[in-house]
């Protein structure tokens, strides 16, 4: 009994210590925003890697999700003769929830893993130590550009994903469910509010911050060898995904329940 309690206590302490380390890492990253030098080249490279090159995966995810959503809402709505809500619910569902969450999760899978693997490999091959000896702060050179690029590019990715998702729903609505194209579009525009779009983009920014932060944190704290890098990569994706879902709930509470 005592040993079980001891083990539980150790696990809780270890978890709290991990949370503390992540918070300190996040605070350090944000602090560097205000302190030159800034590595613009690395920032623009990260923008391309994280933002531009994630567009196909986010777009495809949104497109198929929008289409499936239209079919589901039509089938569900038919139970109480409310098939007409398909355009508005697809739009609201995509913009408020599915666009940012699925976009965030797809970027977590694609970007958190690659950042953690890249930085983890740099750590085990002493490239991080080499940066320090060359008078370059790894937080400034590696972490800040990636976190900033993800935080700024995710809202744009989410907005583009929203539009593609709504378009997927539109195609299914018009071609499979016999909606009138003009009426579908009018319904979408009429029911969608600016706050819906903005809330989704704010969620995107938060998710972007989480994704890059987790990638960098786990990469910087990678263990030795191939196994250490593999573990860091896995931890980065799992932590980013869980934190995205948790943050999504909190942000939804903040935006839509007051």
């Amino acid at each position: 009994m005592t040993s079980a309690l001891g083990a539980l206590g150790s696990a809780v302490l270890a978890m709290l210590a991990s949370i503390g380390r992540v918070v300190i890492f996040a605070a350090n990253t944000v602090k560097h925003l205000a302190l030159p030098p800034f590595y613009l080249r690395e920032f623009f490279q990260a923008l391309v890697q994280i933002g531009w090159l994630s567009l196909p995966v986010v777009g495809l995810t949104a497109f198929f999700t929008g289409g499936a959503l239209a079919l589901q809402i039509y089938a569900g709505g038919a139970r109480f003769s409310a098939e007409a809500v398909v355009p508005s619910i697809v739009a609201i569902g995509m913009v408020r929830e599915l666009g940012p969450v699925l976009g965030g999760l797809m970027v977590a899978a694609r970007v958190a893993s690659s950042i953690a693997a890249e930085i983890g490999t740099m750590k085990v091959t002493e490239q991080i130590d080499a940066l320090v000896t060359l008078s370059t702060d790894p937080m400034k050179y590696l972490t800040l550009p990636r976190v900033l690029a993800a935080t700024l590019s995710l809202p744009i990715l989410v907005a583009v994903g929203d539009a593609i998702g709504i378009f997927g729903g539109f195609l299914v609505g018009v071609n499979r469910l016999d909606f009138n194209a003009a009426a579908y579009l009018k319904n979408t525009v009429d029911f969608l509010e600016t706050a819906d779009v903005v809330s989704g983009m704010v969620k995107g920014a938060v998710f972007g911050f989480i994704v890059a932060l987790m990638g960098c944190y786990h990469g910087m704290n990678s263990g030795r060898g191939a196994q250490g890098v593999g573990r860091a990569t896995k931890s980065a994706v799992v932590a980013a995904s869980v934190l995205i879902l948790a943050a999504n709930y909190i942000l939804t509470e903040v935006f839509f329940t007051s």
């Binding site: 030098p37 590595y39 740099m122 091959t125 002493e126 490239q127 130590d129 080499a130 320090v132 000896t133 060359l134 008078s135 370059t136």
Partner: protein, 248 residues
Amino acid sequence: MIELRGLHKSFGQNHVLAGVDLSIERGKSMVIIGGSGTGKSVLLKSILGLITPDRGQILVDGQDVTQADRDAFLARFGMLFQGGALFDSLPVWQNIAFRLMRGSLKRPKDEARDIAIEKLRRVGLKPDVADRFPAELSGGMQKRVSLARAIAADPEIIFFDEPTTGLDPIMSGVINDLIREIVVDMGATAMTITHDMTSVRTIADDIAMLHAGRIQWTGPVGDMDQSGDPYIDQFINGRADGPIEAIR
């Protein structure tokens, strides 16, 4: 020029450095020898501030390194890492000129590239290597590029961490000769860690042997063979029997 006083560092129960005292004179080439896992790399990384010692003092030109301006302090150093530690994402010339394109030593891109190519020549590589990526080079070429990066900003102090590990004997000889030449030409203070005795005899002015967390013996390389110290005798002759346990 570099003075270590009572340096201690532990990792958990493992006391890697247990009171290291050592002096390295300006312009001299000091080689630290010792078995695997005796803390040679920890010692070197402690001086550079990559590892924080638990106790003790590190003085460079009489100044405590913890009090020094970090940027100015690191600008005096060059370091050749064991595995090269070249940045995969940058072409060779940008690796070499990394320090010259950023921070207090920043200069125009063309000038930085010219210096990188001159340093490439210095380590025996042709300018056409400049635009290749580290992954496209052999192990020996990577080591040379890493050496070129270490000397790019003409540092006063150069550290070499196991410079010949993983190289064939001929390439090891080439790297050893290059290191010796560069250190003499530049008049730099050098500190090398290795367990390759050919490196020791080529590179060193002085040697120090690290054992059980302390300096076991230190002196000019010429005195090494007649040191009378059983530890150093066993090490330089590669004997399994002696005071150093073969299985650690």
